[in-house]
Amino acid sequence: MSLLRPFLLQTNCLGRYNTGMSMAENPSQRPLVVLRPQRGKASLNLLEIWQFRDLLTTLAQRDIKLRYRQTALGAIWVVFQPLLAAGIFSLVFGAIGKFPSDGLPYFLFAFAGQLGWGAFANTLTKSGNCLVQNSALVSKVFFPRLILPFSTIFSTLLDFGVGLVVMIFLLAINGINPGLAILATPLWLLALMALGLGLGLFAAALTVSYRDVQYILPVLIPLMMYATPVAYSLSAAPPKLAVILAANPIAPLIEGLRWSLTGRGTLNWLYVAYAVAFTLVILFLGMVYFRNMERRFADVI
């Protein structure tokens, strides 16, 4: 792959170069690339992301390499953070609040919820910050901008993978067999990360002009967590309240992931269908919004 690829792609998305011409040594026989102002709606052109997969993986590797640099405990934080959160939840909601937990040890119950929440929230945070964090790249080098938010999902995937190993270990020592439900885990994860990415795309594009988003997100995300059945179960809420809580599209996905990881709890498929539809719409709109804003990123970042 090469720098040229950006230019060929650029022409692809503008659709203004003569295809089928041979790439001859003589410049006069080469297709002419013409860059014009983009008007109207930008096309999604997801093919670009595939064509730039080298850069995508390089950025992902860089993310993973850079994480926990200059920390004493290093990668142990990947395990520590959800364990710590689950510990506090089981103390507050389990031991003190005596919330129901579908018959599971509260720690296990909260850890499963936290795994799902982490996948969603980390995707949202990282993709939301990616443009500002890479502003030097955005303003100096051409590449499809969608690569940046997409590249952030890999380190979150790695975190989830490590968390999953801990989860399986916890299941084993508690003697809990989730059964076949565990096979659906990747689907819940996919939905949670897609929702996080969709919202993150909005956040990233907005942050370019409004750095306010950087201050709002860290406040909003923990608040959202308490509005989501991460540390408690939807079944613990009074039925009327449960309906309102389930209007939060993250809720059925977290409950679904927990059902997959533990084999306990009941799923309301209506809620799940709503959450999945919501996720697809947000992801699509997020990409459309991002693509339509990106032409100005280098000007204002």
Binding site: S2, F7, S28, P31, L32, R36, T58, L66, F142, V300
Partner: protein, 262 residues
Amino acid sequence: MSAPDSPPAMAARNVVKKFTVGGSGYAGLKGRIGAALKRATQEKKIVVALDNLSLTIEPGETVALLGRNGSGKSTLLSLFANVMKPDSGEIAFPASIDPLHPRLSPLLEVGAGFHPDLTGIQNVYFNGAILGITRKEMEAREESILEFADFERPEYLNAPVRTYSSGMFIRLGFAVAIHTDPEIILVDESMAVGDEAFQQKCFAKMDEFHAEGRTIVFVSHDMNIVRRLATRAIWLSDAQIAADGEPDQVIRDYHKAFGIPD
């Protein structure tokens, strides 16, 4: 150098580029709320960076862009590099020969892709990927890149880039960028950095690129560099071309306009 019917290496036709100052910056939301409260329309200042600019650069030319800070030189390079889009008009250039041959090396800012916490070597590969070179190709070029960068203290290659001096940073960034085998080289005020020996090496490389028939467009405030390298100089002033021609003549006009003795 090239056939008479060959298209220009780079052409700008009636390019207009405007920036909004203040209106959509970080103060945007606050400004908008404030304006809404005051029932006043928000004050937006439009700055025209390039005003109906047309320019043709032939293959093999080494073009120096002159002008005061803010005269639109970097904006023009950003448009050539496809980092920014024109507000109207168009930029045109022939597509690359083959996909493994980068057509254009955006040396807009040397080491722009360097991450402060990655080591020099890691950044070489990372920057390569950004500029469109695969890991395998970079491996083949690594030795040559490090030779060009020629660190006084090679142990720094495995240290994070944030510990580098600005000179070391430029050396490594420049070395990576020139190893992307570009047809058109865009350089934004980076050659003046680095020690004398390194500068000479950069000049030699530019001469080599020129001899190979590659097109170079660079921005510089150092008239000695302009005289040394350029075959043509373009003076940008007030978003338009004030002068275009022989470097010596353009430099004289430029100096006269600002009362600087030659």
